[in-house]
Amino acid sequence: MDFINHQLFIKDINVHIDPILPKKTAIITHGHADHARFGHEHVIATRQTIDIMKIRYGDKCAKKFTPLRYGQKYSIKNYDFTLHPAGHILGSAQVLIEKNNHRLVITGDYKVGKDETCKNFKLLKCDTLITEATFGLPIFQHPDSKDEIQKLIRSVKINKHNCHIVGAYALGKAQRVMNLLRQQNYNETIYIHGSLEKLCKYYSKEKINIGKFEKVSSKDKNFYEGKIIIAPPSALKDRWSRRFPNPIICMASGWMTVKQRAKQQGIELPLVISDHSDWNELLDTIKKSKAKNILITHGQEDALVYYCKKQNLISKPLSIQGRSDEEME
């Protein structure tokens, strides 16, 4: 495992995983802005991640793209790379690096639970596991997202003269919320903030069931009574949200577990819907991977490092620059 440093850089072959600054060769785990950046020479990722990067940054956001299918091998010198489903968002992948019989897995952001909007997480056995720890505290035990989305549907039924604005990150979370609504037979048109449009169209094209959606337009105020509107969290508190009739502000995020956080952000209806693993899933993955060496990246790493050490696993935090925690999910 000495071949990779704390910045997820393999010096030997000049390959970075999810680098923040433009690099020669970048393996990208998924399309979120804190992992996928503009300006690399060569991007290696799943086809869907590459599509998403092009949608967000333009066709020329890298000089060269190499799309990999899940499980398809890509070798540089004696390093064999394969990508495997991470269950985080559409196209998200874990990176397995094999070198001289040593197996190293970088989970990227991952979620163990079921999700119809992407391929489900695949557990990989390995020697070294580099895991994320966004929700690395025992207070985070995500409830069933079905129950959470039912809360939204119930509230829409009860509060007929309000509209519900759901804050959800533009890539992945927004479409997941839409898909969950469809799974629960909510068949009305869902209204979306303009910044979500391209990505929603892409999800539809990829045959993810997010149902009928329409961009919010300057219609009569009362038109949105009883409707569900999905917007990026930053829009909730902006002038954009003033146009709606008696909005009930909702937020779909793992952080909504903590009432005080919801209250501070002025969220009236918190929906605990996360695209990351919760505490128990993190522990379970660590255990089942059989890895003896655990490195922990961005999030609440302290508690997880403490736990691993108690299990006699070699464990330390990796501090990767440029990752914000609560803003992104």
């Binding site: 505290l137 025992p138 207070i139 985070f140 035990q141 508190k237 902006d238 002038r239 949200s241 003033r242 577990t257 903590v258 009432k259 005080q260 919801a262 209250k263 002025g266 969220i267 009236e268 209806l269 918190p270 609440q300 302290d302 508690a303 403490y306 736990y307 108690k310």
Partner: protein, 522 residues
């Protein structure tokens, strides 16, 4: 328990007062033993003998690794919420009613507390667990005042809030008499008032244009409106207690009053800081507020006294049905009989026309009063803010033109607007902030200011935006005091935005020295 815990959950998350009232009303549609417990909890009347915060910590350490708990508590910052989320064994049992749950807890023997209470915690959902722990630690902090609960009940059952206020302090769990009265099954409960806090009579602001034309000056009595805190002092041969306007017992914070008062009466007055009955400013009084106890040192530095306005009981006799001028005679009598350094009489201002009163309102010793009170001589002592009896007439506000320096988003309804403004005056070539205001502007002015701030931000400090120094605000304020907490050396009382001064260039704004001189700050 499910129902009550989701009530609390919704109350904590909704910013709207009306929604809160609606939620409370939905809950209190049924008046049974569960709603009685709920009412006791919401008014902070319920506690468990053996289960306090320290016991809860002890319990959680028995079940959760201490370090993992500490990491989590650090992150969440709220004990009840951390425990409710981290609690490991979750075998959600059959849902119990609030009353069954509380009664079961009260049955637990002290020696079995740890195992039995843990069992209960394990059977609850996260939200129920959070609610129960909040109930144990007291002080819900869910943004619901006692007053709001009373308002909800009054509206729901077509009673007046004053009637509820009147009997509130005589009510006890399980509130059978209250509930029966709300349901119109019995007349209003009769309460033995002698030892209870009596809701205070409050004044309405006067409408100078309408009211002075309508009201006959000779029917009214005027007194200064002192800038302290309104209190009710209950004296009897057995005990002396002091209550705040909201009915909180604040006796322990003002021992000198308690120790030195004699007689048998209930007095309505203003608590002030000062020696020889000379009140000093509100800033000094603040040193004595929000403290549970007062050290000897504090008592010497900031001695308090009560300026008496009114009397409700005298030697066991209820005077509240008498008229003000009659009660006044009893008040004077009581004070003559029981002379102390702790109570004096609020003097009456002699005037014959409203015009004559104006000069008393505005020109009396600057920092000490907020204006005058105008009271109908023939007024009974009526709880609450009844119209037509007592009026307050505040001094004209002081005004200063200051430059808008920083802005921050508001809360609740205003969270999408930059609506909290910090403004300042010159100190040589720099600006120094003198205050912060978040009211007073019109909706239209707010939109203009909001837009200006978005387009003219020069710097960001977390949520605070620094803006181009271009906008001059005329700020109205009640008073200003010296303060060593602020860089400018001054602290304003109730500043608000009066208007935007589009006509004035920023170099015509005063300096801090001129400001202090104008408002006589040393």
């Amino acid at each position: 328990m499910k129902k009550f815990s989701s009530l609390l959950h919704n109350l904590i998350l909704t910013p709207s007062r009306n929604t809160k009232i609606k939620l409370l009303q939905d809950y209190f549609k049924k008046l049974d033993i569960n709603s009685a417990y709920a009412l006791a909890i919401l008014s902070d009347q319920l506690s468990f003998q053996f289960i306090k915060a320290s016991k809860l910590r002890e319990l959680v350490y028995e079940h959760v690794d201490q370090h993992l708990f500490d990491f989590s508590y650090d992150y969440v910052g709220d004990l009840a919420e951390t425990i409710s989320l981290i609690w490991p064994t979750k075998k959600e049992g059959k849902s119990q009613s609030l009353s069954t749950l509380i009664e079961n807890i009260n049955k637990i023997k002290k020696s079995e507390i740890n195992t039995e209470f843990s069992k209960i915690l394990s059977q609850l959902s996260n939200n129920e667990r959070w609610t129960l722990i909040k109930m144990c630690t007291g002080g819900l902090r869910i943004g619901v005042s006692e007053r709001l609960v009373k308002t909800a009940l009054a509206d729901l059952y077509n009673k007046s809030i004053n009637e509820i206020e009147e009997i509130w302090h005589g009510l006890k769990f399980p509130y059978e008499n209250l509930f029966q009265w709300l349901r119109n099954e019995i007349p209003k409960p009769k309460i033995d008032f002698k030892k209870l806090f009596h809701p205070m009579m409050l004044a309405n602001p006067i409408d100078e244009e309408k009211d002075f034309k309508r009201l006959n000056a000779s029917e009214f009595q005027a007194e200064y409106k002192w800038d302290g805190i309104r209190v009710q002092l209950m004296v009897s041969s057995k005990s002396v207690s002091l209550y705040s306007r909201t009915g909180d017992n604040i006796s322990s914070a003002f021992p000198e009053i308690i120790e030195n008062t004699k007689g048998d009466a209930v007095i309505d007055g203003e608590l002030l800081v000062g020696t020889n009955f000379k009140p000093s400013n509100f800033n000094d009084l603040q040193q004595r507020l929000n403290r549970k106890k007062a050290s000897k040192d504090l008592q010497e530095k900031f001695p308090v006294f009560i300026r008496a306005y009114d009397i409700l009981f005298y030697n066991g006799k209820d005077l509240r049905k008498l008229f003000l001028f009659e009660r006044r005679m009893y008040l004077e009598k009581f004070l003559k009989e029981n002379i102390t350094n702790q109570i004096d009489l609020s003097s009456i201002i002699k005037f014959s026309t409203w015009k004559e009163l104006t000069k008393y309102k505005n020109n009396f010793n600057d920092h000490l009063n907020e204006g005058v009170m105008i009271k109908l001589k023939n007024s009974q002592y009526l709880p609450g803010r009844k119209k037509g009896y007592w009026y307050k007439w505040k001094k004209n506000p002081k005004l200063v033109d200051a430059i808008l320096m920083y802005a921050q988003r508001g809360h609740g309804k205003r969270s999408s607007y930059y609506s909290d403004f910090t403004f300042g005056v010159w100190k040589k070539n720099e600006l120094v902030p003198i205050g912060k205001a978040y009211s007073g502007y019109t909706d239209k002015e707010l939109l203009i200011l909001d837009k200006f701030i978005r387009n003219n931000t020069t710097n960001k400090f977390g949520p605070v935006r620094e803006v181009k120094k271009e906008i001059i605000l005329e700020v109205a304020f009640d008073d200003v005091f010296p303060s060593n907490r602020h860089k400018s050396g001054v602290a304003m009382r109730f500043p608000r935005i009066h208007r935007i001064r589009w006509d004035k260039p920023i170099n015509e704004v005063v300096s801090i020295e001129e400001f202090k001189k104008e408002f006589k700050i040393g």
